[in-house]
Structure formats: structure tokens, C-alpha cells
């Protein structure tokens, strides 16, 4: 009976996040943005939306990367507002959302440490949502193993390292393999957490996380064609909390070309649509775009129910997608390539 006790701790934040969701750009806003000719026009249009005076600082030039960093800053501010007021178990849930970015930051720092880069150079490139206390101390370690035993073992990511480093030496492992293993451990842990919360949170979050797991499996498979990643190595990277587990993952591990991957996807009605051949007349959409579309569709479903945590996760993901859309439109506008400008992913289509 989540409705009876949810609002004690989380009612205010749910109301807040739903208010913030109302500010997500609609199709009218995208239409206006697509018709702009310069970034200045886009800045003007964005002022009338929830973004307001975000882009109005006068010192820096208005470039696409400036827009991107400002949008990210906005998202981080909103997230910090939510996280600072959250009580358990919502605080743990929001922390799980940040672990994704933390993994990316750790991989970036390890790569930099391997190449003897200066820590000061790397820190601004880290995603702010994934910041952890020991980030600045990363420069002390000389090897990845040292990095792990001295610094990373105190971060919240330490449990995810246990599966990754038990067999193989961190030094020898390729950084991308490490990222995939960490992400697999993270996804499975998040999935178990949502399942334990139960109720509407489980009903909205578990399909989203299962879709993420399947998407990872497909992307890893497709990206590994032509590299020397063996089938056994590949199957160690697939997250096991998705719908593909266990038969689909076994088939995917054996797949050697795109046709075999498509054959695996055809067995699952949810994924069949993503790999389907396009009709001749419609727009060309890459595999990535189709995955993004499906992700947006699943995330909008979270707002159909009340008294659960899924709205927080979905809001962050939809805001990220909106940032990607705005950056895409800005790129098209600055490079004057208006033909592909409508390839953004619309969110909340059909509402006013």
C-alpha cells in the first residue's frame, strides 16, 4: 500500500519533479527551434521556455559546446536540489542514478592515469553528476591497481569492482572491458534494488532497466564485429537482468554478423521492431536512434503512475534526451544543414 505512506517522506519531491517535468520542451518548442537560423535565435526561443535566462551570460561566445555545458549544469542543479532533500530509500535510488556517471568518470581517470595525463586536465571533463570525493586524489596513483586499492575502494563503486577485478589484473584489462564489466555489475545491482522496493517502482523501473541490459548486449555484440573479442569474453560482458537472459544472450555470444543479431532480435517482440528493415519512404534512423526512441517511450510511461520512484529516473533521462535534441538542432543550425534537423527524438508527442 504505497499510497498510504509514500507522501510522508517523498511527497514534496514527487510534486517538485512532476512540476519540473512540465517544463520539458514540447513539439511546438522544437518546431520553433528548428526554424531558427542562428544560435542567437535559439537562445531567444529558449528564454520563453522553462530554461529562461540560462544562456544569457554575456562573457562567453555562444557555441554549441557552451550550450551543451549550460544544459548539463542546469540538469545538475535540478538533480542536486532533489538529492539534497531526499530521504532513504529515495536517496539510495538517486545515488544509483549517479553511479552510471561515476563509472564513466572513473574510466576516464584511469585512462588518463595510464597515459600520465595531469589530473587537473581531466577533472573538468568529468561529468559533474558522477563526482565523488576522492576524484582529486586520483593523480597519486601510478597504476590502475594502485588506484583501486588506495582510492576507489572507498567510493560507492567498490562493490561493482569485485566481479571485475577478481580474476584479471586491472593493469592488463582494457579500459573498455572494465567499463562494460562495471556497468554490468551496476545494472544488475540497480535492478535487484528496484525489485526489492516492489510496487509501482518495480513495475516502472524494471522494464526500463531490462531494456538497458538488452540494449547493452546488442550494442556490445554489434561493436565487437571485426575486433578480436572472443565469444566467451563477450558473454562475460552481457548484463543478465534483461529479457534476453539466458537463451538470447547465448545466441548473441555466438553471433558473427548483423543478420544473426537480427535473427536473435526477431525472437523477442519488443526488440524485433528495433531491428526491422525500414520501409522505403521513411526517414533513415540509426540503430542508436531507435534505441533512444524506445527508451523515451518507456520513460514516459513512468509518469502514468503516482507514488513511486520511477518518475525521478525518467525525468533525468528525458532531460538528457532533451539536451541531446537541443545540441543536435544547434549543430544543424550552425552548420546550416537543415535537412536532417528533424532527426531529434520527440518527447511527450501528442500532448500540448
Amino acid at each position: 500500500m504505497a499510497e498510504l505512506s509514500f507522501n510522508v517522506d517523498h511527497g514534496y519531491l514527487e510534486g517538485l519533479v512532476r512540476g519540473m517535468k512540465a517544463g520539458i520542451l514540447t513539439s511546438t518548442d522544437y518546431h520553433n527551434l528548428a526554424q531558427c537560423d542562428t544560435l542567437e535565435d535559439m537562445k531567444l526561443h529558449l528564454q520563453s521556455t522553462d530554461y529562461g535566462k540560462l544562456l544569457s551570460s554575456s562573457e562567453e561566445d555562444l557555441t554549441v559546446s557552451f550550450v551543451d555545458s549550460k544544459l548539463r549544469e542546469n540538469l545538475v542543479t535540478e538533480f542536486s536540489c532533489l538529492r539534497s532533500n531526499a530521504l532513504p530509500p529515495l536517496s539510495t535510488f538517486l545515488d544509483y542514478i549517479t553511479y552510471n556517471y561515476m563509472i564513466d568518470n572513473v574510466v576516464l581517470l584511469i585512462t588518463g592515469a595510464l597515459k600520465q595525463r595531469d589530473v587537473e586536465e581531466l577533472l573538468p571533463r568529468c561529468h559533474p553528476l558522477g563526482a565523488f570525493d576522492q576524484m582529486a586524489a586520483v593523480g597519486i596513483a601510478r597504476t590502475p591497481t594502485e588506484l583501486y586499492s588506495a582510492i576507489l575502494v572507498d567510493t560507492p563503486l567498490a562493490p561493482f569492482f569485485q566481479d571485475a577485478v577478481s580474476e584479471i589484473n586491472l593493469d592488463e584489462m582494457e579500459v573498455e572491458i572494465l567499463r562494460s564489466k562495471l556497468y554490468k555489475a551496476y545494472l544488475e545491482s540497480f535492478h535487484t534494488f528496484c525489485k526489492n522496493i516492489g510496487g509501482a517502482t518495480k513495475d516502472t523501473m524494471c522494464p526500463i532497466l531490462e531494456f538497458e541490459a538488452d540494449r547493452r548486449a546488442f550494442i556490445i555484440t554489434v561493436n565487437s564485429f571485426g575486433t578480436d573479442l572472443s565469444s566467451a569474453d563477450r558473454s562475460a560482458l552481457y548484463p543478465s537482468c534483461g529479457k534476453l537472459y539466458p537463451e538470447g544472450l547465448q545466441l548473441l555470444a555466438k553471433a558473427e554478423d548483423h543478420e544473426q543479431v537480427k535473427a536473435v532480435a526477431d525472437c523477442y517482440p519488443d526488440h524485433k521492431f528495433i531491428f526491422e528493415d525500414r520501409e522505403p519512404g521513411s526517414d533513415f534512423k540509426t540503430l542508436e536512434d531507435r534505441f533512444f526512441e524506445q527508451e523515451v517511450k518507456l520513460n514516459t510511461l513512468a509518469f502514468m503512475q503516482q507514488f513511486h520512484f520511477g518518475v525521478f529516473y525518467s525525468y533525468i533521462k528525458l532531460k538528457e534526451q532533451e539536451s541531446r535534441n537541443i545540441v543536435w538542432i544547434s549543430e544543424c543550425v550552425t552548420q546550416r544543414q537543415k535537412s536532417k534537423i528533424h532527426n531529434y527524438i520527440p518527447i511527450f508527442q501528442g500532448t500540448k
Binding site: E3, V8, G11, G23
Partner: protein, 211 residues
């Protein structure tokens, strides 16, 4: 293996208490049966020896306290959603106070019934079951029953109106035309509290305490 059987602290506590409670009842019941002491479990003795005033007072207490629990529950559910939704959509603040008023009405029903029932409690002289008389016993039980009726129906009415009011506030924040439609759902929800009051009045209509 024993460690895996251990759940977290709350679960151990609840299962322990439940187990202790039911095993006590079982063992006492078995002992009474074996030692031929079954006569000690005497419901009639309990009902006639307890004073009707106890039942009346319990009824009054339950009437007001359960109603207030229901109203409070509903108000906090709706209130926190109004505050959250009001940050980005300040226009909802005033209109949604109507939901809070519906929840508050439930507490008012409770206090009205408590006052009505408490006015029926009169003195009577009589100490044994025969001298107290059947009418006084009936009065005590009716007042207890009426208190239970109005208390529980207001409890659930308050919770219902609270949950619907929370949904109304958040929907109003997104789309202002939805509020009036969801208000109709709330009105039906608050009607059930009124049913409890009506039945409680009927239960206490024949009450006459005294000599």
C-alpha cells in the same frame, strides 16, 4: 544456513511477537481443556461484569480518535503533494485547499458524533447485572458500536479523499482543466464518511441510560 533464514530486524520482531502471542493462546487453551477449567472462559461473565460506561467511553474515544487519524492522514497526503506541485505551478495553491477542507470535514463528523454520543451517557444506580438492567447494557453496547462505525468509516474516508486530493493537485499542476473533474471523484469519496455518521445516529437513536 541459519544466517540466511535471518531476515532483517523488523521481520524477526514481527514474526517473534506473532509466534509468542499465538502460542500463548494455544497453550492456555490446551491447559484449560486438559484440566477441565473450561468454565473459566466465560464470555457472558465478561459482558455482564464490565460496566456499560466502559463501552460508552470507548465508543466516544474511538469516534473522535479514529476520525482524527483519518483526517490527519488525508491532509498530509494531499498537503505534501500541493506543496511539491506548487513550486513550479503556484496557481494550484489556493484552489487545492478544497481537498484539505474535504479531509477536515471528516474530523468534524467525528467530533460531532463524539459530542452526540457523550450526551447520552447518564447515571444509573445498580451494581449487579440484575439491578443494572438490560436497557443500560443495550445503551453501552450501542454507543460503543456507533463509535466504531463512525470512527472506521471516517478513517477510510479521510485516507481516500487524501489520496485522490494528491492526484488532483498534481494533475491540476499539469493541466488546469483537470481539477474540477477530479474533484467529483473526491466528492463521492467524502460521501462515504457521511454514511458512517448516518448509521451511527441510527444506532444511538434508541439509547436511554438511567434507572
Amino acid at each position: 544456513m541459519l544466517l540466511e533464514c535471518m531476515m532483517n530486524g523488523h521481520a524477526i520482531l514481527y514474526t517473534g511477537v506473532t509466534l509468542a502471542f499465538w502460542s500463548t493462546i494455544l497453550i492456555v487453551g490446551i491447559c484449560y481443556t486438559i484440566f477441565d477449567l473450561g468454565f473459566r472462559f466465560d464470555v457472558a461473565w465478561f459482558l455482564t461484569e464490565t460496566s456499560p460506561f466502559m463501552w460508552a467511553s470507548l465508543g466516544i474515544g474511538l469516534a473522535i480518535s479514529l476520525s482524527v487519524v483519518g483526517a490527519a492522514w488525508g491532509i498530509y497526503i494531499t498537503g505534501s503533494s500541493i506543496i511539491g506541485g506548487g513550486v513550479k505551478a503556484p496557481r494550484i495553491k489556493t484552489k487545492n485547499l478544497v481537498s484539505i477542507i474535504f479531509c477536515e470535514a471528516v474530523a468534524i463528523y467525528g467530533i460531532i458524533m463524539a459530542i452526540v454520543i457523550s450526551n447520552m451517557a447518564e447515571r444509573f444506580t445498580g451494581t449487579t447485572p440484575e439491578t443494572i438492567g438490560a436497557r443500560n447494557y443495550q445503551a453501552g453496547y450501542s454507543m460503543f458500536g456507533a463509535g466504531l462505525t463512525v470512527g472506521f468509516s471516517n478513517l477510510f474516508c479521510g485516507i481516500c479523499v487524501g489520496i485522490v486530493g494528491s492526484g488532483a493537485a498534481l494533475a491540476d499542476a499539469q493541466n488546469a482543466s483537470l481539477f474540477v473533474k477530479i474533484l467529483i471523484v473526491e466528492i463521492f469519496g467524502s460521501a462515504i464518511g457521511l454514511f458512517g455518521v448516518i448509521v451511527a445516529i441510527l444506532q444511538t437513536s434508541k439509547v436511554k441510560m438511567g434507572d
